[in-house]
């Protein structure tokens, strides 16, 4: 199927949106025409609102996610590598994994206030366990034969970890990070919607509360598109990183 035909349904939806709003089928307050949303987006981009808040959100998400990836992967590989460590940490991971991460929003605010710190901590805590689990499953599934061969050829434990276990764990680890990436967006936007003075989520809430609905729709679509594009870009990157596999 050609891309045009494939994405035709989305175009139809966009046209239906425009038509419904223009023809007065729905109140233009509840659904401003798409064209007006586009104009509002340009306005927001021009006076820098989108960049300032976007950069604040980007900083929080990337800092939180980076911490989650580094510490989460270390925890997961450690659990797979040392049985005693697993016996201690494993049940905790199992306990905290199903915990709704959004419940942490008020606590991080209690600890670190309304600024960047509380969002970074929230994203770090929320995104760490999927990474841990991915690293753990991947490293645990590492091929015994490969490890034995490496050992018999004289590789020390660190060498084995770096050259055999980590590459073997990569596919599952990268999948865990993909889950974490999606979670980071969700946690970022929800925490900014609920308590913040900056960021795209805050901007959505602010525009909504002042009744600037075309602007609000513009930012909502921007965040949604950013989440989608981030996932697609990550997938492309992941496929490249795993190219060496057959």
């Amino acid at each position: 199927m050609t891309p045009v035909l494939r994405y035709l349904p989305l175009l139809i939806l966009a046209l239906a949106w425009e038509a419904a709003a223009r023809l007065g089928l729905v109140s233009s307050l509840a659904l401003p025409p798409l064209s007006r949303v586009a104009v509002a987006w340009l306005d927001l981009a021009r006076d820098g609102e989108l960049t300032t808040n976007g950069l604040a959100s980007l900083y929080r998400a990337s800092a939180g996610l980076a911490l989650a990836i580094v510490i989460g992967a270390a925890l997961g590989v450690g659990m797979a590598w040392w049985k005693h460590f697993d016996a201690l940490v494993g049940p905790l991971v199992e306990l905290f994994y199903p915990m709704p991460k959004s419940a942490l929003i008020p606590v991080t605010v209690l600890w670190l206030g309304l600024g960047d710190g509380s969002k970074i901590l929230l994203i770090f805590l929320g995104c760490m366990l999927p990474v841990t689990l991915g690293a753990f499953n991947g490293a645990r599934g590492a091929d015994r034969m490969l490890i034995w061969s490496a050992r018999s050829m004289g590789a020390g434990p660190l060498r084995v970890l770096r050259d055999v276990v980590l590459p073997g764990a990569l596919p599952e680890l990268l999948n865990g990070i993909r889950t974490a990436l999606a979670l980071a967006f969700v946690l970022l936007v929800s925490s900014e919607l609920i308590v913040a003075q900056q960021g795209l989520g805050y901007l959505i809430g602010y525009l909504g509360s002042t009744g600037t609905y075309d602007g609000m729709f513009a930012v909502v679509l921007t965040v949604a598109a950013a989440g989608f594009l981030a996932d697609r870009a990550y997938q492309a990157l992941m496929n490249r990183a795993l190219q060496w596999r057959d």
Partner: protein, 248 residues
């Protein structure tokens, strides 16, 4: 039981750390104080009102709608070319999107009460169900379908009696993702909109700098989440009693 030991260790460490004076009781109230608070919430009935609203009026209705609609949409995509053409791009764009950003839009359309919270939950929880259903049906063995056809099964019978059971393991996996997600969204929606419910109570406690209330909320929501996850795993075993994965 050996698995309980690390949990008890964490509980003990929490209590000891909170009492050591390294942090103020505001930053981390002792676990015993938090349990006391949960107890008094339960005794006054407030806990039950909030838990009932969060779980029975929001999380579960939203999850059930998402489950039924998601499986139906999954079947439509898997079996009908027109539905596939229309829904496929919407699902592939909608799934990785942070749907929570639409919260203010949903509030604008549906107001501040149950309808908007349930709609928000459905919007989030439906995508894992759809993709799991589509993947599950795609993996059904062709021989099963051919044999059923050969024996005269109609499309409806084929779906109900062959594809649904054969795809059930994957559908259940989708539902197991969707249920905790429903709770997460319910809590966020309550925090953002206020009113009653476990999430709203937690945020109110945080506004009043009532840190015991905040930590009590975390423990309560974590317990609800754990019960839901364990319940789904149990349901999976019951529904898949015939399946090799359970019999192994």
């Amino acid at each position: 039981m050996a698995r309980l030991i690390p949990i008890l260790l964490v509980a003990a460490a929490w209590e000891a750390f909170a009492r050591s004076g390294a942090v103020t009781p505001f930053m981390l109230p002792p676990l015993s104080a938090v349990i006391e608070r949960i107890w008094s919430d339960a005794a006054s009935g407030e806990l039950w009102v909030n838990a009932k609203l969060t779980l029975l009026y929001r999380t579960l209705p939203g999850f059930l709608i998402a489950a039924v609609a998601g499986v139906a949409a999954g079947f439509a995509i898997a079996r009908n070319a027109l539905a596939r053409w229309f829904l496929d791009p919407i699902v592939s764009i909608g799934f990785p999107m942070p749907k929570i950003a639409f919260l203010p839009v949903i509030v604008l359309w549906l107001g501040f009460f149950e309808a908007s919270k349930i709609a928000m939950i459905v919007l989030d929880a439906i995508f894992p169900v759809i993709t799991a259903t589509v993947a599950g049906i795609a993996a059904v063995e062709r021989e099963l379908i051919w044999s059923a056809r050969n024996m005269g099964a109609r499309e409806g019978e084929l779906m109900r009696q062959v594809m649904l059971p054969a795809a059930l393991p994957q559908i259940m996996t989708g539902l197991q993702v969707a249920l905790p997600l429903s709770l997460i969204v319910a809590v966020v929606a309550e925090m953002a909109m206020g009113g009653y419910g476990l999430g709203a109570a937690m945020l109110a406690a945080s506004r009043f700098a009532d840190s015991r209330g905040v930590f009590a909320g975390i423990v309560e929501i974590a317990i609800v989440g754990l019960v839901l996850v364990k319940g789904m795993a149990l349901l999976r075993r019951q529904l898949l009693l015939w399946h090799p994965e359970t019999q192994a």
